[in-house]
């Protein structure tokens, strides 16, 4: 209960912050700032609800045309390099999900004209979990996963 209240409070203060910063700048309206950002997907607590919010479905189809490059053991959960490469034709988007993070949805890359099926970034991971890459193409969701072990102490166990 307390936790729920805190979350509402946080949401409220974040929104208020965005509004005042944008008004201060006098250039951007808050609506423009948050235009396309799918708040519900990034605040979802489970992989399925995050996918529902972002893609409208969580029907994943395993695919061997997606490869994830991430370390087997990450010494520092704050910086885990992840690359996703896919040979699926015309990918619409590539999303990276850390399954056991408080909010699993980590990043979603929407591909424009000419974009190739490759993205690379660095993510934070709270604990050992699988990293899931979801590729949307042709209205379908394809996915593959990779287990990444996180040693929080950072001693390389």
């Amino acid at each position: 209960m307390i936790d729920m209240k805190r979350r509402t409070f946080l949401k409220g203060s974040v929104a208020a912050g965005a509004v005042s910063a944008a008004m201060g700048a006098g250039l951007l309206t808050p609506r423009m700032v948050l235009a396309a950002w799918p708040t519900a997907a990034f605040e979802a607590k489970t992989v399925d609800s995050a996918l529902d919010a972002l893609m409208g479905s969580h029907q994943l189809e395993g695919s061997d045309k997606i490869s994830i490059r991430a370390p087997d053991i990450a010494e520092n959960g704050a910086v885990v390099p992840v690359s996703v490469e896919t040979s699926i034709a015309n990918p619409e988007s590539i999303s990276i999900i850390a399954e056991k993070n408080a909010s699993p949805m980590t990043a979603s890359f929407v591909m424009g004209t000419g974009a190739q099926g490759y993205v690379s970034t660095r993510i934070k991971m709270g604990k050992t979990s699988s990293v899931i890459a979801v590729v949307k193409a042709d209205g379908k969701l394809y996915s593959t996963g990779k287990e990444v072990k996180v040693t929080i102490g950072g001693c390389g166990g």
Binding site: L28, F42, P81, S83, A98, A107, G112, G114, T121
Partner: protein, 103 residues
């Protein structure tokens, strides 16, 4: 505010864009050790990359992207000397952008 380092390199007809952005990426879950209060969430929500008028990539990020984020992707259709523009917007409405030439 030069918060972005960006490079775009072409090999064959595919251009690889690499960018480093300087940003705290606070999740809102971490507590300040001195005051005991939570550090408010402050993270980049959207990164867009444009080649001319074509939006080649739009990245939507949550707070779980690492501090000082790194980003790399590839696209086809650019020529050497073309301008690539990368810009970001965070949850406080702050933003920045940078341009580079494809080499």
């Amino acid at each position: 505010m030069a918060s972005i380092k960006i490079r775009a390199k072409m090999s064959g007809d595919v251009t690889t864009v690499k960018a480093l952005i300087k940003h705290p990426m606070d999740t809102g879950l971490v507590k300040d050790k001195k005051t005991g209060k939570a550090i408010p969430a402050h993270f980049i929500q959207e990164v867009t990359c444009e080649h001319g008028s074509n939006k080649v990539m739009t990245a939507m990020w949550g707070a779980a992207v690492s501090k000082n984020p790194y980003l790399s992707f590839k696209f086809a259709g650019a020529k050497a000397g073309d301008t690539i523009k990368l810009s970001w917007v965070d949850n406080k409405g702050e933003s920045d952008s940078a341009e580079t030439q494809v080499s």
